[in-house]
């Protein structure tokens, strides 16, 4: 007998057992499944695996020109360096070298042109990474420069797009603006963001039989890596297996971008017949890979004398970099979220996917949604300053309502609306009104410090807007000792997906989570998976695992009915045991008996999200299964001498439906908030005039550190609000929505600046609001006020 079954218990003892519940089911506050291995360094990441014998290492040769014709690659000197195995260029690719995720445009290796500084031109394969790096320096590349387009507005003016512009509209915005009591217009720059996952892009590959490849990749999308590797080395998909245990952070940066190192390593393995590894040093990672899209936002908004919005014309200019990548869906999501929590009435929202000679910008937590939300939050502030009222009152006035004013500009009805009740709760629990008064007093008394406060909402649509991606798969094997092996199509990047899916399966079988083992996500266990993205990981894979578990449970119940001669209603799974009318057996006992009775103990599970549809041509439909809501109230202080600032307090109330695991969910909310705050404050990407990224390492690019978090940080989940939709245990997705809570910090900084103009002028403050940006916003406010 195995360890799991333990010493045989008597009937009395087992009766005692089933009086209690399992400790690790759904809703229980249990730690991350890998926590104990994280803290000891025993959790294995790809770079921690022992090197294979004869393993080779890759180092890239990158373009130093933003746009040019690739004339010549001279690798002779490099090839002579001892330890260099070979140098690979585009013409060495046996299959299709375009690794564009959905649309073509991302050459694995540059062919005849280069389109950004950091584009891979050649790969040096050597016995060590150090030799490969020395070798890469010896490769001589000749490029004839062509005109580079580096500014989004220049690209827009030239109609230089990676994809055609697209519009979503409701009513007649132009007519509404004409008849509006007040009309304001403005422009806002929103910066991009480096993912800064702590583990840089990495992949290791091992050639297998019949030209196949085993790929260990740090990717959010194993199935896509499988497809692209197969395509590059020209074999069928069934010859390629991708294995992914965990990532050291992803945040969207490993959705499409993990494919390049994986395909390069696989290509090198294919050409040399040897195991290969490609790990990007931090600076190369930051130069080679795309980031969150910088946006330029231009708006014209009409509203009545109360501040009720009646018409909006909004242009979103996205800097997509050199290729389409996921920019189609990303800019769509920005447009879908340009309403955030507000009923727009008549609105025309157009997204422009501008092509620039920079790394191709890509998925990043929120996937365009944050940029759309910042646009409308900025507009709310603008209206409030114009009318000299508290921005919170303008926000509340414009919220979607439950019975009317509840239709989005893309035709989806906002259901399960928690905006009013959550705002009321947070406004009260954060003492917003009292603190607003205290801040006024402080601002009147301090010679040069100013405080600001802002309460901003989040309404985020959950589902992939490419509807077909809303599917998940799982595989459960139960072994004869009662232990359960679980696989699903999602990937673990720290968000606690494996923990939640294991809790779901534990709940279904009523067994302890220790009984369940989740091994690496693997394309030969669960095929044709969607990326772990769009916050959907638990929604789709949790449901798929639940379905697999239910299939098995049904089989076990049918077996028990016949074997133990009990009725279905007399069978109960309780705390690692099965109650069968008047006797109790252990889960293991049931499994063993089922095995002897020739019952299959393995099942797949599948799930597709119901209800959703979207017709992009008419920009109309119900693209989201449901919305997740959140609220944050942040208070800041700025030093008008220098523009430096500090977040003093943030109160957060966030909606996760019925939480599968409050500890994991709180972690997502806090981490998302701080990442969002970083995006809007200190994380500044700067390029020089040639298109070279200057902030390409953590010396120059500053993500929040421990001192930057709010001095007083209070985070709460909404209680007793199940997801009205039939999601897994009525939970809600939590990956992306909290990111946008960080917008409250930026609005609070603007509030502090606006105090210098008696709250009657909109601060001229772009994002990220670095101390320098705040400083000049202060100067600008003083100028605006001087003109009063």
């Amino acid at each position: 007998m195995s360890k799991l079954s333990g010493a045989a218990l008597s009937q009395a003892q087992m009766y005692e057992k089933i009086q209690a519940e399992i400790s690790s089911g759904v809703g229980k506050k249990i730690p991350h499944e890998s926590a104990a291995r994280h803290v000891t360094g025993e959790a294995i990441y790809i770079d921690d695996r022992l090197d294979f014998a004869n393993q080779l290492h890759l180092y890239p040769v990158l373009s130093e020109v933003a746009h040019g014709r690739l004339e010549q690659i001279d690798s002779e000197q490099c090839s002579r360096l001892a330890g260099v195995e070979r140098v690979i260029i585009a013409s060495d690719i046996p299959g299709d070298g375009d690794i564009g995720a959905i649309l073509p445009g991302d050459p694995l290796l540059a062919i005849d042109t280069v389109e950004y500084i950091g584009q891979v031109i050649a790969i040096v394969v050597a016995s060590s990474m150090e030799i490969a790096r020395q070798g890469a320096k010896l490769v001589k590349v000749q490029i004839t420069p062509l005109k580079a387009i580096l500014e989004v507005k220049e690209a827009h003016a030239l109609g230089h797009y990676v994809l055609a512009p697209h519009t979503q509209s409701m009513g007649d915005a132009q007519a509404a603006l004409q008849s509006a009591a007040h009309v304001l217009e403005g422009e806002l720059q929103i910066g991009g963001q480096e993912h800064f996952y702590l583990e840089t892009q990495i992949c290791s590959t091992l050639p297998t039989e019949e030209g196949g490849m085993l790929v260990y990749a740090s990717t959010q999308h194993p199935s896509e890596v499988q497809k692209l590797v197969a395509q590059v080395i020209d074999v069928s998909l069934n010859k390629v297996t991708v294995d992914m245990r965990r990532m050291g952070g992803g945040f969207g940066g490993k959705e499409t971008q993990a494919a390049q190192p994986a395909c390069l390593a696989a290509l090198a393995s294919h050409l040399t017949g040897k195991p290969c590894k490609m790990r990007l040093p931090r600076e190369l990672d930051m130069r080679m890979t795309g980031k969150r899209h910088p946006f330029t936002v231009q708006y014209k908004v009409g509203f009545n004398s109360q501040g009720l919005l009646c018409g909006l014309v909004l242009d979103l200019l996205a800097d997509c970099g050199f290729s389409p990548d996921l920019s189609g869906s990303i800019v769509d999501r920005a447009m879908f979220h340009a309403d955030n929590a507000y009923y727009l009435g008549n609105a025309t929202i157009t997204g422009y996917r501008c092509k620039t000679n920079r790394a191709s910008n890509t998925a990043y937590r929120g996937f365009g949604g944050p940029q759309g939300m910042v646009a409308i939050e900025n507009i709310m502030d603008h209206i409030a300053r114009f009318l000299a009222v508290d921005p919170l009152s303008i926000r509340k006035l414009n919220y979607y309502q439950k019975e009317q004013r509840n239709l989005t500009h893309y035709g989806q009805k906002v259901e399960g609306n928690l905006l009013d009740e959550m705002t009321a709760e947070l406004e009260s629990s954060s003492d917003y009104q009292l603190r607003r008064k205290q801040i006024n007093t402080f601002n009147q008394n301090h010679p040069f410090m100013r405080k600001g406060i802002a309460l901003t909402p989040v309404k985020f649509g959950i589902s992939f807007t490419a509807t077909f991606l809303n599917q998940g798969g799982a595989l459960i094997n139960i072994y004869t000792d009662g232990s359960i092996h679980l696989n699903h199509g999602g990937t673990e990047m720290g968000q606690g997906l494996n923990t939640k899916v294991a809790q779901i399966v534990a709940e279904e079988f009523q067994v302890d989570i220790e009984t369940i083992f989740i091994s690496a996500t693997n394309t030969d266990k669960v095929p044709n998976t969607s990326p772990t993205a769009a916050s959907s990981g638990t929604d789709i894979n949790g449901k798929a695992a639940q379905n697999a578990a239910r299939t098995l449970k049904t089989r076990l119940i049918e077996f028990a009915i016949s074997h133990y001669q009990v009725a279905s209603s007399e069978i109960h799974f309780v705390n690692n045991h099965i109650k069968l009318k008047d006797r109790v057996i252990s889960f293991t006992e049931l499994i063993q008996q089922a095995y002897f009775a020739q019952i299959s103990l393995s099942s797949t599970g599948f799930y597709r999200t119901p209800k959703i549809f979207y017709d992009r041509d008419s920009a109309f439909g119900t693209p989201f299964y449901y919305y997740a809501f959140g609220m944050a109230c942040s208070e800041v202080i700025i030093d008008t001498h220098t523009g430096e600032y500090k977040v003093l307090r943030s109160d957060i109330l966030h909606d996760v439906g019925d939480s599968l695991n409050p500890r994991i969910d709180i972690g997502q909310v806090e981490g998302g908030f701080v990442q969002g705050m970083g995006w809007m404050t200190t994380e500044e990407l700067v390029w020089d005039n040639s298109g070279k990224l200057l902030t390409s390492n953590p010396m120059s690019y500053k993500i929040p550190a421990i001192t930057d978090i709010p001095n007083d940080f209070r985070v709460k989940l909404v209680e007793n609000r199940k997801n009205p939709e039939d999601t897994v245990y009525h939970s809600k997705a939590v990956g992306e929505p909290p990111f946008m809570l960080g917008i409250s910090v930026w609005c609070a900084l603007k509030d502090a600046v606006a105090s210098l103009g008696d709250y009657r002028h909109q601060p001229n403050m772009h994002s990220p609001a670095t101390p320098e940006v705040v400083f000049f916003a202060v100067q600008d406010m003083l100028r605006q006020t001087a003109n009063d």
């Binding site: 025993e42 770079d47 040093p281 931090r282």
Partner: protein, 489 residues
């Protein structure tokens, strides 16, 4: 041969490339892969390990450092503890358990580094202190958690921690470290394929080495030099480490001056400076991270001659000087004269900084330093401004030195502005007039850290702030009015 303790095992290394970092050594040669590479530039802390050494009282000092920018020679005579050493059998260390209990890890990649920083902190901090935690962890970046959970872990780990398995071994460890020191030759070295590092233990050996190999590269904390290796692929063939030179570890404090040896770490300087120059000590709290300050030296920050180094403005404003030494001579030079041009100093080949001398003012003075950067902690200054002021009995400026970093190719004084202040009444009008001269003194550059305009306007405002802080009418000390953002942390 260098000798150190890897946890409790004595390791002797002779044939090893001195350009090897501690991180490479652990991961590639010891297969201790719990320590991660996040940046290889000392900015993220994923590679944090702890070194243990003896202070003057032979007490064990636990220090969190960046393994990625520490060259292997720095381990000589110390104990190295990595994440693998904390768990005993199935028992997590209390710092590890705290991180599990409070959900301090998500993706887990930064986690071993945080644990090691907490471990070092726990060894010298009893009870939770938010400021101490921020100081200890400012050099550890986490992209997932948002840090609140990690702060809670720190709280748990620092609140009456149990004895761990290192505590009962403390006497043994001390004896072993003393024995290692005793065994060490006058000048140990490591060498691999013609690349050599000498570790002289006294100044005579050091000068002798420099006479024979004047082209040698001098190595102190190495936190900048190692970046040349990890980020730019440089390999140094002839290194001389100054860390073990006993004379250079000396600190002499008199009523007249502070003398700080070239091998004294910035962290040690913090304690020395806090008495006479509290603002200097406070500046050091925002100088890189504790990881770096444990290793880096004050002399290194000067010799580096970066226009954005944080200590030169403060030292120039305090009229500090250097004692420069070579095989044949010793000379003294004011630090403000030491910097010639961008990354250029008067240091001759074969010459090294022996010590830094900071005079202690004998009259009442004001000394304030301001650092402005994008991020509060562990960031490089956009501008660093140091002001030293003495007033006579009539409230006239009798002495003024204002020095700036980030405003020119070198850290330098604002001579025109100083001239406009000297002898004048110290009041708002004087200051308002004087600060216009800053644009004569400096024509700063625009770069990714800040624009020229911002730097100049900030410099002017900081002079204004300095004036306010010197005014008795605004009582800074009682905390009635806080003058700096760092006061609100």
């Amino acid at each position: 041969m260098i000798e150190f303790l890897l946890n409790n095992e004595i390791v002797c290394l002779t044939d090893i490339n001195p350009n090897t970092t501690v991180l490479q050594y652990l991961r590639d040669q010891q297969q201790r892969c719990g320590t991660k590479e996040g940046c290889a530039s000392g900015d993220c802390g994923a590679c944090t390990v702890v070194t243990v050494e003896l202070d003057a009282q032979h007490t064990l000092q636990y220090k969190n450092i960046n393994a990625c920018i520490t060259l292997i020679s720095a381990l000589h005579g110390k104990q190295l503890i990595s994440i693998e050493d904390l768990k005993v059998e199935q028992q997590l260390h209390s710092t590890q358990q705290a991180m599990v209990d409070t959900d301090g890890s998500q993706c887990g990649f930064c986690t071993p580094g945080f644990v090691m920083s907490l471990f070092a902190l726990q060894k010298h901090q009893s009870g939770y202190d938010k400021h101490a935690v921020q100081q200890a962890l400012a050099g550890n970046l986490c992209r997932c958690t948002g840090y609140r959970a990690i702060d809670s872990a720190a709280k748990q780990a620092l609140t009456s921690p149990p004895l761990d398995h290192f505590d009962p071994l403390a006497d043994d460890t001390r004896d072993t470290l003393l024995q290692l020191a005793k065994n060490s030759s006058a000048c140990p070295s490591i060498e691999h394929q013609g690349k050599i590092c000498h570790l002289p233990s006294n100044i005579q050996t050091l000068t002798e080495l420099l006479r024979i190999h004047p082209e040698s590269t001098l190595l102190a904390g190495g936190t900048d030099l190692a970046i040349e290796v990890t980020q730019h692929g440089r390999e140094f063939s002839q290194l001389i480490s100054m860390l073990g030179v006993s004379e250079l570890q000396q600190v002499t404090i008199t009523d007249q001056q502070l003398e700080i040896g070239a091998a004294v770490s910035l962290n040690a300087c913090q304690d020395i400076l806090r008495g006479p120059f509290v603002d200097f000590a406070n500046l050091l709290e925002r100088f890189a991270s504790l990881h770096v300050r444990h290793t880096a030296t004050l002399a290194g920050n000067i010799a580096n001659a970066s226009p954005i180094g944080d200590t030169p403005p403060a030292l120039i404003a305090l009229n500090a000087s250097l004692v420069l030494r070579s095989a044949d001579q010793q000379r003294t030079e004011l630090i403000e004269d030491f910097f010639v041009d961008y990354r250029k100093t008067t240091l001759q080949q074969g010459e090294f900084i022996e010590k830094i001398i900071i005079p202690i003012p004998q009259q009442d003075f004001h000394f304030k330093v301001y650092k402005v950067s994008k991020r509060l902690d562990d960031d490089i200054s956009a501008i660093c401004a140091a002001h030293y002021l003495c007033l006579d009995k009539d409230n006239r400026v009798s002495e003024i030195r204002m020095a700036y970093g980030g405003m020119a190719a070198i850290a330098k004084r604002a001579s025109h502005t100083e001239a406009a202040l000297l002898g004048e009444l110290w009041n708002q009008a004087t200051v308002d007039k004087a600060l216009l001269h800053l644009s004569t003194d400096f024509q700063p550059l625009s770069d990714f850290r800040a624009s020229d305009q911002y730097r100049l306007r900030c410099a002017q405002n900081l002079l204004h702030k300095f004036f306010l802080e010197t005014q008795a009418t605004i009582d800074v000390t009682t905390g009635a009015i806080k003058m700096r953002i760092s006061d609100y942390v």
